[in-house]
């Protein structure tokens, strides 16, 4: 008898809710007949003996109880679905279908080195040999019709009333080449004709004169006895039935655009049935979100599922303007991936309306069975009564790293972290579930970079006990930020949680009433609105404690219509795991261009005094005090700490408070002149390399023993109006707080700053 391991997975519809608001929880079980659901407050994540251990507190909740375990499919594959109320697309009688395609994986397998980490292996396996351009073909019932690539060959598939028929061209299409595909279904003439014409375009891999692609065509007889399909009409995938759901099937890899369907065989008597324009928006701001426009009189508008990438260069792209809002005709294309997954669309197992009396904090729906356990973390926001302190949880960064699979696919994973990856057991479970999708550090099956992160799928790296592979004993993301949560509990100071998407949406108003805002350990990805809100907060007397490293670094956006969805395209400069192709680098959810904030006029040094300098993952080090630490204005920071005392030569991450990803004081990039440079890191090894954005041309000697810019700096800056910021410039910092049961100089210094920041007197008033 096989003993199948029990597994529980789930997700919530959003990260945070206020009292009175409801969250829904979506759960799927493997070999679990029943599971128990309960509410817990998450207090500390890291389970090892180097810290206080995993800490949670049970909290009564109305959803608490036993639930039947049910398994649901999580099906990747992005597509556009077109509701067709009047059946205009049901049968292709006398249709002329024209579509433009740019296949990126026509034969289902890829080879090569991709991205910064040299991804060479695909843990998801091979892609389907059949990739749908459009249609309503249902494979189970052999009904409907579709235009597909079958083993890379353009193919029209239909049922003539008796058997499945296929009309294929002789040769497979080339990857990274635009083509026009046309299918003329002359039912009245009893003939179907399929042709493929290469399109000259700047984005083709091969220049026009050097490509082997040529026009091809083929014809076949057709009876016109259609077997109508129940499946919906889709672009970029077909549909397969699973209970009440139509899941993605035969998903396409590559771009599709410029689709028009006419009815009528003769050129002079054609009616447009549908003319989708993927570059046109239904919104006044021109953003390309989920809705797809049909410009025909039939208004067969569609909707995107699993977030295919819009705002990508089409077959008409001229290469002169990169903003999809300015040249929509040049952006009439969507890039589909068969591993896109941004909503598992599992039914809600239960909902939870936040009670008025529930204190703000970090919580989780804890799901357990005899042999399985799963946490769905979420944040309870403040109600009417607010704390003096807000903690900004880096939920955008959580989504960027969500379900990171790099050490299983990339040759260079080990090189970039300077040691053999140390895998968490949860990572093995993730490997057994490719359908839960990839992180924004990874490469799609077709070799393009992942640019969307979503909460609405199981995220195993969000489990509070998870350890990241890139640092020994690595607490990263939520588990690292729980180090701050428990430290605040230990010093008996309450806080209200804030998420990136809340701050992006609500801006400065969300921060206005707080005295101090504390960031998480790695607020790498933020939106323009967040930077503006924090800037205004500090300019208005607010105090910011940036307790992390590599913060406020690169651009993300949240979908204004779907807040659980985050966009993170990559530019062609600076530290980046991959880069979006030319023409495809503008966020469709905000209009922002991709890239580092320092390259867009908003370097983090202006906001928090320090900015990304280097990364390395071999070991961490201490901080040493500098001259400014003895300035009377900074005396409060070091109360109880010796004049020559090293700070933070200990910690969960790499044995020190300074390390992993580090930031330095950099006046040339905007560190305010009045900023006090309190401390700098001890020696960092050559595993720490100067950030790519500081290396304009490839040079030798960019390691920590040769480059003065490879360091973490602690700064304190008083601002006009009473505001201030204190920045530590190190991801490892928060993992040192709990050392020796919080009796250590990192905890002491951080507490000194927080208590002083809570006092209203300006920093130049020595208390």
């Amino acid at each position: 008898m096989i003993n199948h391991p029990q597994k529980i997975f789930g997700y919530s519809d959003r990260f945070a809710a206020r009292p009175g608001e409801a969250l829904s929880f979506h759960v799927s079980c493997e070999f679990v007949a029943n599971y128990q659901a309960s509410l817990v407050r998450l207090r500390h994540g890291y389970t090892g003996e180097a810290g206080p251990g995993f800490l949670e507190t049970a909290v009564p909740a109305d959803f608490e109880g036993t639930y039947r375990g049910a398994w649901f499919v999580c099906q990747p594959g992005s597509y556009v679905e077109v509701p067709d109320e009047f059946g205009l697309l049901a049968a292709p009688d006398d249709f002329l279908i024209e579509a433009h395609i740019f296949p990126t994986l026509p034969l289902g397998t890829r080879s090569g080195h991709f991205g910064a980490y040299h991804v060479t292996q695909n843990s998801f396996g091979e892609s389907s040999g059949m990739q749908a351009v459009l249609g309503n073909w249902c494979e189970a019932t052999k009904s409907g019709y579709a235009l597909v690539l079958d083993q890379g060959k353009p193919t029209f598939i239909w049922n003539d009333g008796v058997t499945t028929e296929k009309l294929s061209l002789d040769a497979a299409v080339e990857a990274y080449q635009w083509y026009t595909l046309r299918v003329r279904i002359a039912t009245s003439e009893g003939k179907v004709h399929l042709e493929q014409v290469p399109v000259v375009n700047i984005m083709n891999r091969l220049a026009a004169l050097k490509t082997a692609s040529a026009t091809q065509s083929a014809s076949a007889a057709i009876s016109g006895r259609w077997i109508t399909s129940e499946a919906p009409f889709r672009i970029g995938a077909l549909a397969r039935r699973d209970g009440y759901r139509w899941l993605a099937a035969s998903a396409f890899n590559g771009k599709i655009g410029g689709i028009t369907i006419w009815r009528g065989v003769s050129e002079s008597a054609q009616d447009v049935v549908a003319a989708w324009h993927f570059g046109r928006s239904v919104r006044a701001d021109g953003l390309l979100l989920g809705d797809v426009v049909d410009r025909s009189p039939n208004k067969l508008h569609g909707h995107c599922h699993n977030t295919p990438t819009r705002g990508v260069a089409s077959h008409r792209f001229a290469g002169l303007v990169e903003d999809f809002r300015l040249v929509p005709d040049e952006y009439d294309a969507i890039h589909f991936h068969d591993d896109d997954i941004t909503d598992a669309e599992w039914p809600a197992a239960f909902t939870f309306t936040i009670p008025e009396a529930l204190p703000a904090g970090v919580y989780a729906a804890k799901l357990t069975s005899e042999d399985a356990e799963y946490y769905i973390p979420f944040f309870v926001r403040a109600g009417q009564k607010k704390a003096e302190i807000a903690v900004l949880f880096s939920t955008a960064t959580y989504l960027a790293y969500a379900n990171d699979r790099i050490p299983f696919e990339a040759n260079g994973a080990e090189v970039i972290v300077s040691h053999t990856p140390i895998i968490d057991r949860t990572d093995l479970t993730l490997q057994d579930h490719p359908e839960f999708g990839r992180s924004c550090y990874e490469i799609h099956n077709d070799g393009s970079g992942v640019v969307f992160g979503s909460l609405r799928r199981p995220i195993l790296t969000l489990q509070p006990k998870h350890r990241a592979w890139f640092q020994a004993e690595g607490v990263w993301g939520l588990p690292a930020d729980l180090c701050i949560v428990h430290w605040l509990e230990t010093i008996e100071l309450g806080f209200d949680p804030i998420t990136d998407e809340d701050l992006d949406r609500e801006g400065f108003e969300l921060l206005r009433d707080y005295k101090v805002v504390i960031t998480g350990s790695h607020p790498e990805y933020v939106t323009r609105n967040e930077i503006a809100a924090i800037d205004q907060f500090c300019s208005s007397g607010g105090r910011l404690m940036y307790l992390g490293g590599n913060g406020f670094f690169a651009t993300v956006s949240f979908d204004p219509e779907l807040r659980s969805l985050m966009e993170l395209r990559r530019s062609d400069g600076g530290t980046r795991p991959h880069q979006s192709p030319f023409g495809d680098r503008r966020h469709t959810t905000s209009g922002e261009s991709a890239g580092l904030w320092r390259n867009k006029g908003l370097p983090p040094q202006r906001l928090v005094g320090v900015g990304f300098a280097a990364q390395g993952f071999d070991s961490c080090t201490y901080f040493q005090r500098l001259e400014d630490s003895h300035n009377p204005m900074a005396r409060f920071v070091f109360e109880g700490i010796g004049a020559d005392e090293q700070i933070g030569g200990f910690g969960i991450m790499g044995g020190g408070a300074a390390g992993a990803e580090v930031d330095c004081y950099q006046p040339v990039l905007g560190t305010p002149p009045q900023t006090l440079l309190l401390a700098t890191s001890g020696p960092l090894s050559d595993a720490y390399l100067l950030a790519a954005e500081e290396v304009y041309e490839s040079i030798q000697g960019i390691g920590g023993t040769e480059q003065p810019g490879v360091r973490a700096d602690i700064v304190l800056c008083p601002l006009d109006g009473g505001g201030a910021f204190f920045s530590v410039g190190s991801i490892a910092y928060t993992a040192s707080l709990s050392h020796n049961k919080y009796d250590n100089n990192v905890s002491r210094m951080t507490g000194n700053v927080l208590r002083r920041f809570l006092q209203s007197e300006a920093l130049d008033v020595v208390l």
Partner: protein
Amino acid sequence: MMRTIEQRMTELNCVFERRFTARLLADLTDDVAAAYQKSPLGPHDYNTVRVVRALGGAHIHDKEVVISLGDNGPWGIGRIALGKPGNLARLSETFTSYEDALRGVFSIRRQAFLARSGSPGEAGPSGEVGATP
């Protein structure tokens, strides 16, 4: 008959691989091995860094990783193996520290490299237990 792009790239890779192997064989001295065994996370001298990077930059297929088996250890070694549970094939030996597991990985790689290049090497952990934890 016209050669394919794949054939040409393979030829170039073979040329590089020969040079790379010769260089690594010269660099992978007993002193380097001793330096790694002394301090798997470094800091290392220039030569040791180059060797560790060369061995660690190998193709991901069948590559060794360290697996954390409990909250405070032990640690094991596994090989990336698509198709196995967790896409990992675990070796039998366990270690009481991750540093020791890193040493184990280095020994395996050193032995395998020396065997491939026709030089004698040290014994290291290699027994596969198959199922992941």
